[in-house]
Symmetry: C2
Subunit: 229 residues, 2 copies
DNA sequence: TCCGTGCATTTACAGCGTAAATATTTACGC
DNA sequence: GCGTAAATATTTACGCTGTAAATGCACGGA
């Protein structure tokens, strides 16, 4: 059996799991997740598609691996007293990661096998909220409410994967054939999206709304906080 | 040209768009969206796969049509003074529709072509919020924050498509190999999900949190409401 | 009767994930 | 150097996908 973990050996042009995953991410970022097939990804790496199976188990394993790389990009704030600031920074960082990798948000909820980076992310978020003093029966819902917003917003925002220039052109063509009188509020909404560009403010609006509400529940007005049951 | 809209003609066993979409929905509900291929769907209808192309344009058109059928199931409350109750009922109905058709939430944000039912839904929601007096610059964000929660929660909940019995078995196997000491809070979270069953309460928790916060912004404390600009 | 029209079938093709067999490259003991 | 075994890459093949194109068939009106 050949030696494992032989640092200085590295034959220059050999494949490994990370190179496969990185190439998959780059390709997905550039051309969409649909372009990332085994054959295409192999071609991208100068290799036949089947060669990839030496480094990844199958397509699912590859997607899980790519997703965990995205999770690793999420900045995890150190423990500290200010739970709200931590949750905010973590959520904004996660949101940014999803926007950098538009294919990842849709997989986030679909994949079941958590990689180490996602585990670290989840554990960090849960610990932060627990240490903030959220009672046990609230902790779960608190966490999921924040998480829902992150994923939901990313998916909504990525649903129209157009920059502002494209939006204007396509949108005007669209509104020409749109039954404006039948759905006036929807038409106004679409027009609003054509005129205004969202720079992540929409995400932070909902995020702060949620965090404010959670903070209110954490310390129920004047009543004393119940101890952990 | 043959006569259109000839009511009594209907040769009994002919296909039409609705029958195709209904069969697609039934099959997707029963076996997942992955099972709904053209050939399989044809077989389900006693027909070759290619026959479907006489009634739908292509796979995308079929998915959009199926999705619009789900949208049509969402109960749209009549206009009225209580925006909060309307938004709540609409959101809960939408959530229920997504849970009845577990494949639909993932498509909701991905599909660009809105069908009539979705347009009706969106227009109804937007009008309700506008009539509630949300100022224009808030209306868009208000709407999306609610929408994010609906979609986000559905996807999270459907990410583990297991009923309680399966969860217990699989979960315990999972926790056996899980690095509990490394991610203690995540482990506790998973254990919590194994023990407690969510009956939609988690959805309503976040929903009410958001609606409360929005109501507070709608009538900013003591200051008078600005007129529509 | 014949013809156009609408619907179903048949055939075909490129691309997908991947199992299996084969070929090639690499690393190590001698 | 060598041989050998392991690691890695290629080839071939199979069943599946969506769908273009050609064909077959039944019907309603001229």
């Amino acid at each position: 059996m050949p030696p494992l973990n032989e640092a200085p050996k590295r034959r220059r042009t050999t494949l490994n799991r990370d190179r496969v995953l990185d190439a998959g991410i780059a390709l997905a970022d550039a051309e969409g997740i649909g372009a990332v097939t085994m054959r295409r990804l192999g071609r991208e790496l100068g290799v036949e598609g089947m060669a990839l199976y030496n480094h990844i188990d199958n397509k699912h394993d590859r997607l899980d691996g790519m997703l965990d790389c995205v999770a690793a990009e999420i900045e995890l704030p150190d423990s500290g007293p200010d739970w709200r600031d931590q949750a905010r920074r973590r959520a904004i960082s996660a949101h940014a990661a999803f926007m950098r990798h538009p294919w990842s948000a849709a997989l986030w909820t679909a994949s079941i096998n958590l990689g180490p980076a996602r585990m670290r992310y989840l554990d960090n978020a849960l610990r932060s909220l627990r240490q903030a003093g959220f009672p046990l029966e609230l902790l779960d819902r608190t966490f999921h409410t924040i998480e829902n917003h992150i994923v939901g917003h990313a998916l909504q925002a990525l649903g129209f994967p157009l920059d502002h220039g494209q939006m204007e052109q396509i949108g005007e063509d669209f509104l020409r054939t749109f039954p404006v009188t039948q759905y006036p509020d929807l038409a106004a909404h679409i027009r609003h999206h054509l005129e205004h560009q969202d720079n992540g403010d929409g995400f932070e609006f909902g995020l702060d709304l949620i965090l404010d509400g959670l903070e209110r529940m954490r310390t129920p007005s004047q009543r004393p906080l119940p101890g952990p049951r």
